[in-house]
């Protein structure tokens, strides 16, 4: 018998500090598989956010640097402008990218910066204990919406991928999830395509990944994974939001 599944080379041999059933672990592993398969370990520079995944550098065996909250897209811009030979990705949560970092993200996309944003949407602020995120669903209970998110007071869930699709410099945007084998495979494919977009010098790419947060959703891991299908995808439909990479090729 031969081994058909093992730890990717660029994933450090470390025990994840994430909660049972957390999406970060899956996404880290899948990204490392892509980095291995595309032979990018020596080229990649990653920028994790403040948040649960602040320790991403304990897992990804690539060059990494911390960033101030929300500023990932600006930091990535600086790196890529200084050293275009690198493959630069940001790894950002929903607060980081869709609240405090909206300005930086939008404008990096607008300039068509050749960077890749991996956007982890778990509809809540995880590390700080479960407060409302821009992507929190209506009626969803969080520690700062204890009575359920009310549109009148707290606004609506933000669809960053759709907003960014309007920006010309953004050439590839896809929303996936990591709550089933099929979705995990699609996530891996999307990440691979996003990196390829950067390698081919086409423009800004973003993969939004719906990710389970059992602890702050107050569910078991299995329930959390199901909740993504039942509730999250109704607000955040999966699929390719924008792909003009082929058109760029043709040009």
């Amino acid at each position: 018998m031969k081994k058909v599944y093992a730890r990717p080379k660029s994933l450090k041999m470390a025990r994840f500090h994430y909660c049972p059933g957390c999406g970060h672990s899956i996404i880290h592993r899948v990204m490392c598989e892509v980095i291995d398969e595309m032979d990018l370990q020596e080229k990649v520079i990653g920028i994790p956010p403040p948040g649960c995944s602040v320790f991403a550098y304990d897992y990804f065996d690539v060059d990494m640097a911390e960033s101030a909250h929300g500023r990932g897209a600006a930091v990535a811009t600086g790196i890529k402008r200084a050293y275009p030979g690198a493959i630069v990705f940001t790894y950002q949560g929903d607060g980081d990218l869709a609240a405090i970092g909206t300005g930086e993200t939008l404008h990096a996309a607008n300039r068509g910066e050749r960077i890749t944003a991996i956007f982890i949407n778990n509809a809540v602020y995880g590390m700080t204990g479960g407060q409302m995120a821009p992507t929190t669903l209506l009626d969803q209970q969080t520690t700062t919406t204890p009575y359920g998110r009310d549109a009148r007071i707290e606004g609506y869930p933000v669809r960053m991928s759709e907003i960014l699709a309007l920006i010309k410099g953004a050439v590839y945007i896809e929303r996936t999830a990591v709550n089933s084998p099929a979705n995990i495979r699609k996530t891996k494919k999307a990440i691979r395509k996003a990196f390829k977009t950067q390698i081919d010098d086409l423009g800004f790419s973003l993969v939004e990944i719906l990710s389970p947060c059992p602890t702050n959703w107050k569910m078991s891991p299995v329930e959390a994974w199901e909740w993504i299908d039942k509730e999250m995808t109704r607000e955040f439909p999966l699929g390719v939001i924008k792909d003009i990479t082929v058109k760029e090729d043709a040009d």
């Binding site: 018998m1 058909v4 599944y5 049972p20 059933g21 891991p221």
Partner: protein, 75 residues
Amino acid sequence: MKTDATVKGYIEIDRELCKGCEICISFCPKDAISLSDKLNSSGYLPACFSDNGECTGCAICALVCPEVAIEVYRG
């Protein structure tokens, strides 16, 4: 591990890495994984391979495992 020709795969679960999230159990198409009744050193009840002879080495469990705790063999 059975060695006759009908068995197509087996898995190894690192019981210390496992956090007992039960995702692999819920997705295994062959019901070949169950929860152990002995805690690991982190206080979780880890998943363990039932070895019911049904495993095909499809690797879905490893694909969904957040902890990279599963290695899959197929023959």
